[in-house]
C-alpha cells in the first residue's frame, strides 16, 4: 500500500514526464521540419558559406545569375575542358549519381564553371557538358566574374606555365558545392567522399519537398 502523499507525488511526476515528452517531441518535430536534424554524410557547410550568386554566361550564350537556378538543387564544380583526366572523371561520376537518383535528378542541376575562359567558349562548353549529362550546364564568363565566384566559395585556381606549344593546365579546386533549392550553401563533397554519400544526401535534399 503506497501512502497517499507519495501517490500524489508520483502522479505529479508522471504528468511532468508526459509534458516534458510532449515538449521534447514538438521540439524535435520543429527541428526535423527545418532540416536541422538530418544527418548528412557530406560536410555540412550550412550557415558557413554565402548563397549561390554569380553573373556568368551559360552554354547557350545567355547571361545568367545565381537567381536563375533557384528552385533547383545545384551541384557547383570548377574545371576546364582541356583537362583530360580529373574533370571528365568528376563529371562522369556526377552523371552516375544523377542516374542513380532517377526522376528526382530532374530537380538538380550540375553547374560546371570554367576556370579557363580564354579557351572555353559557350559553344565548346555546350558540347562538353552535354557529353556527360543532360542536366549539366556549362558556365563561363569574364575572368573577373569567374574569379569573383571562385573567391566567394574560397576556391582557387591557377593557370600553370605554358608547355611551349600554347597548351597549358589549370590547377583548380576539386570540391563539389551543394546548394539547396533556395540557393543556400549546404554541403561540400570532395574526391574522398564515396559516391554513395553523394547519392544519399542528394536523395534526402531532393525529397525534402519544394521550397516554401
Amino acid at each position: 500500500m503506497i501512502p497517499f502523499h507519495l501517490r500524489t507525488t508520483l502522479r505529479h511526476a508522471g504528468r511532468l514526464t508526459l509534458m516534458l515528452a510532449l515538449l521534447l517531441g514538438s521540439l524535435l518535430l520543429v527541428a526535423c521540419n527545418r532540416g536541422d536534424a538530418i544527418e548528412w554524410r557530406l560536410t555540412n557547410v550550412t550557415g558557413h558559406m554565402p548563397d549561390l550568386d554569380f553573373r556568368l554566361v551559360d552554354d547557350q550564350g545567355k547571361a545568367v545569375t545565381g537567381q536563375d537556378y533557384r528552385g533547383k538543387v545545384v551541384l557547383l564544380y570548377f574545371g576546364y575542358t582541356h583537362c583530360p583526366d580529373v574533370c571528365p572523371l568528376t563529371l562522369a561520376q556526377l552523371h552516375v549519381v544523377m542516374q542513380r537518383l532517377g526522376p528526382l535528378a530532374d530537380g538538380a542541376r550540375i553547374l560546371f564553371v570554367s576556370v579557363d575562359p580564354a579557351r572555353d567558349t559557350p559553344a565548346i562548353m555546350h558540347a562538353y557538358v552535354n557529353a556527360f549529362d543532360p542536366r549539366a550546364v556549362g558556365l563561363s564568363g569574364t575572368p573577373r566574374d569567374i574569379e569573383a565566384l571562385s573567391k566567394r566559395y574560397r576556391s582557387a585556381f591557377t593557370r600553370e606555365p605554358d608547355k611551349g606549344d600554347g597548351q597549358y593546365e589549370v590547377s583548380h579546386s576539386s570540391a563539389i558545392y551543394v546548394f539547396d533549392r533556395d540557393g543556400k550553401a549546404r554541403l561540400l563533397a570532395t574526391p574522398a567522399n564515396p559516391q554513395d554519400d553523394l547519392v544519399h544526401d542528394l536523395h534526402l535534399m531532393l525529397s525534402l519537398g519544394n521550397r516554401t
Binding site: 575542358t81 583530360p84 580529373v86 572523371l89 552516375v96 557529353a131 574526391p191
Partner: protein, 157 residues
Amino acid sequence: MIIRTARALPLLATGLLLATSAHAGEAEHIRASHAWIRILPGDLPAGAYVVLENTGDQPATLRSANSTRYGSVMLHKSSSEGGVSRMAMVESLVIPAHGEAELAPGGYHLMMGKANPPVKPGDEVKLTLHFDDGSTLDTDFVTRPANATDAGDAHQH
C-alpha cells in the same frame, strides 16, 4: 643456343647478352588489360588508361607511348591534394616485378592530343608503349564516350 655460344666467348658475352635483353626486354613480360581512351568532344585532349602487369623477375619502366592517330601522347599524373586538382608530366612509371601498375582516372594516365583524323567512341586505337630498355609493346585501346567510368564490359586483352 646463340646465348650459350656467346657465354662460351667471355669477351663477347657481355655485349651480346645486353643486346639480347634489349630485344626481348621488359615489354616481353608485360600484359596489358582494360585499355581504354575517354573521348571528349571536338579536339579536346583525351585520357588513356591501361592496367600493366609485369610477369617478369625484374621491374619494368614505362617511358612513353605513341600512336599513329594522335600527334601528341604524354605520360601524366593527376593529384588532388589539399583540395586542389593538379596535373603534372611524369618521366616514367615503374611496374614492379610480379606486380602491376595502373593507369586509371584520377592518377597516372596518357594525355592524348591532336587526334588526326578525329577519334569517335567505338573506334579502336593502337598505342605503342615504350619501355626503359627500348623494348616496345603494341596495345589496342577501345574508345569510350566522355561519361564512361571504365573500359566497359569484355575488353580484356
